[in-house]
Symmetry: C2
Subunit: 354 residues, 2 copies
């Protein structure tokens, strides 16, 4: 299959940008309808969360076309997956709406659960509207996502709803493990990867599977797409972890070293703590202290993670998961053009200017 | 149809008690499995919330058979609805599990939203385990409920999932309206009834509809069952409102006059505020004051609600909704025996020792 080696690095940036732009444009009307169907004030809170409006409801200029709110990576995965198996992207619109709304649901509740006051460079919804309103909006978005799938015309709606429900169970388990990790002393690399597969991999896997389902692909091709998205999601989470320590604060919207300050057990830290050398032991001692870390201690922690091999181990995991994703994608027998586009999207998601 | 007049008041208490007992017994194993499939700590929190264990996980003696946690009214409705249209109760077990779990989900998130520290005479889950854990447990229960329905053997699972998703949209709207009412100055009786239809009617309507769906009834009979449950749910909510003002504190587990102290816009209050006489105006003045109400002011508020006709209007609404429920039930063409049992259950739910 020649497709497997067809990559055009010189055209990547433009090509992925246009794939993402088309995805935003294609999902926008149905997404606006789904969010417009929410009762107030949940509708406004969902719009604020997506970056479509200010806290008081004033429309933001960037959302003139209702296209604000993130890069539309998940809708792009849904549409490309549908095209990969020969469907038109249009057939997968309900899937793209559903994954966006489920992503919003999980972020809204996540921020409540973590008490994180920032989201996408702005105050988190709970910090603006209160925890009760954020909880209720998340609930309404979850239900709205499943209703959007259920409204798919034709006989594939029920299969799509089932795909989403299985994913949601995995997402719940991953979310639960993520919270639990912050309370336990020791986390294994394998436990971390299982958590990431639930918390981040499940939804991206579902995005790809839904594209396949709604395009009428058989179970084997859907499974290849699902596994592609799932491995890509784990790689994406690992990159997020790297950015949480060494990322550009202006880009991430979070303070430098925020994950270390919060003593988060992200993969670089988990891998570094598994190191039995001096750096790993010093890091363990620093993480075990009850006091908050000051700026120089955060810098020291970052250095210890790196010296103990946490950064390198995480980068290796990114490569490993990305390679596994591309192997899984081959099992879906995608067209050459879409294979190339999904590969480029995968590269974009796992490089993010480190 | 002679069934419509077959009521045996002398045997009511025993008969309903045995219907509820059978429902608890029939739903218990599948309910234990569904909750057992949750990850920890959500599993423990769900068990605590249901009254199956103490906060530390110690099993409570009353739950030896896993049958703790409420009267099993909703499972009884599911099973009776299945039997009403000629099915065996057993076919409706996934529906009974789903409505119990959705009820638990809504209570867990409700208590977070209202900041209510008490539930079923005990500390609410959020007060014991924290808001994040209660939110996550609610999410996991909602997903678990839909998974339970999805796992129904045979071809009826998808119809059942659709029934539940439509209900959940109504529930979200009702919940949203309920929260909004506490912030607006004036609520019409009609608005209140629409809210109660979503917040309480939708789930009880779904319980009955699911029994019909899982027993293979046609759409017309399912609609009759759904409308029966929905009207019964509104009647039940009205009774709950009466108990929130004049109820026995030992029975409700809430302080006397709690709804008035919280200035809740329950139906007796909404109806009383619509009265243009002196009592209605005095009540409006009391509700408009920013200070908390002391004990004698709460007693005065209760008296004003009664003098302004709020109690009587609510009692009339209970009768009206109960009568509408029984008319809807006839449309489902239930067997005579089950009609009688559902009527008795309706009487129990709308009398509750006032």
């Amino acid at each position: 299959m020649t497709a497997l080696t067809t990559t055009e690095p010189t055209t990547t940036a433009t090509s992925v940008a246009s794939v993402l732009h088309r995805a935003r444009t294609l999902v926008a009307p149905a997404l606006r309808d789904a969010i417009g169907a929410l009762p107030e004030p949940e509708r406004r809170i969902a719009r604020y969360h997506r970056g479509w409006c200010e806290a008081d409801g004033t429309q933001l200029p960037s959302s003139a076309g209702g296209e604000g709110g993130g890069k539309a990576v998940r809708p792009a995965l849904v549409f490309l997956a549908a095209r990969a198996v020969g469907g038109p992207a249009e057939c997968a619109v309900p899937g793209a709406v559903a994954v966006e709304l489920i992503h919003d649901f999980s972020l809204l509740h996540d921020d409540v659960i973590d008490g994180d006051p920032l989201r996408r460079h702005r105050s988190a919804a709970w910090a603006v509207y209160g925890t009760p309103a954020a909880v209720l909006t998340g609930d309404a978005l979850l239900v709205g996502a499943l209703r959007a799938l259920m409204a798919t015309p034709g006989p594939l709606a029920d299969t799509a709803v089932r795909e989403a429900l299985v994913m949601l169970s995995d997402l719940m388990v991953g979310q639960s493990q993520d919270v639990a990790f912050e309370k336990v002393g020791h986390v294994e690399v394998g436990q971390y990867l299982a958590m990431a597969a639930g918390k981040t991999g499940a939804l991206m896997g579902c995005a790809c599977a839904l594209g396949g389902v709604l395009a009428g692909a058989d179970a084997e091709r859907v499974a290849g797409l699902r596994d592609f998205g799932r491995c890509l999601g784990v790689a994406f989470q690992c990159v997020d972890d790297l950015l949480g320590i060494w990322g550009d604060s202006a880009q991430s919207g979070k303070p430098v070293g925020a994950d270390l300050a919060a003593r988060k057990k992200s993969l670089p830290v988990v891998a570094a703590l598994a190191d039995e050398g001096a750096a790993g032991r010093s890091l363990a001692a620093l993480y075990a202290r009850p006091e908050p870390l000051n700026e120089s201690e955060i810098a020291l922690a970052a250095e210890l993670v790196e010296r103990a091999g946490g950064r390198e181990a995480t980068e290796r995991e990114v490569s490993r998961q990305t390679a596994a994703a591309m192997r899984a994608l081959s099992r879906a027998r995608p067209t050459a053009e879409v294979y190339r586009q999904l590969h480029e999207l995968a590269m974009l998601l796992t490089r993010r200017d480190r």
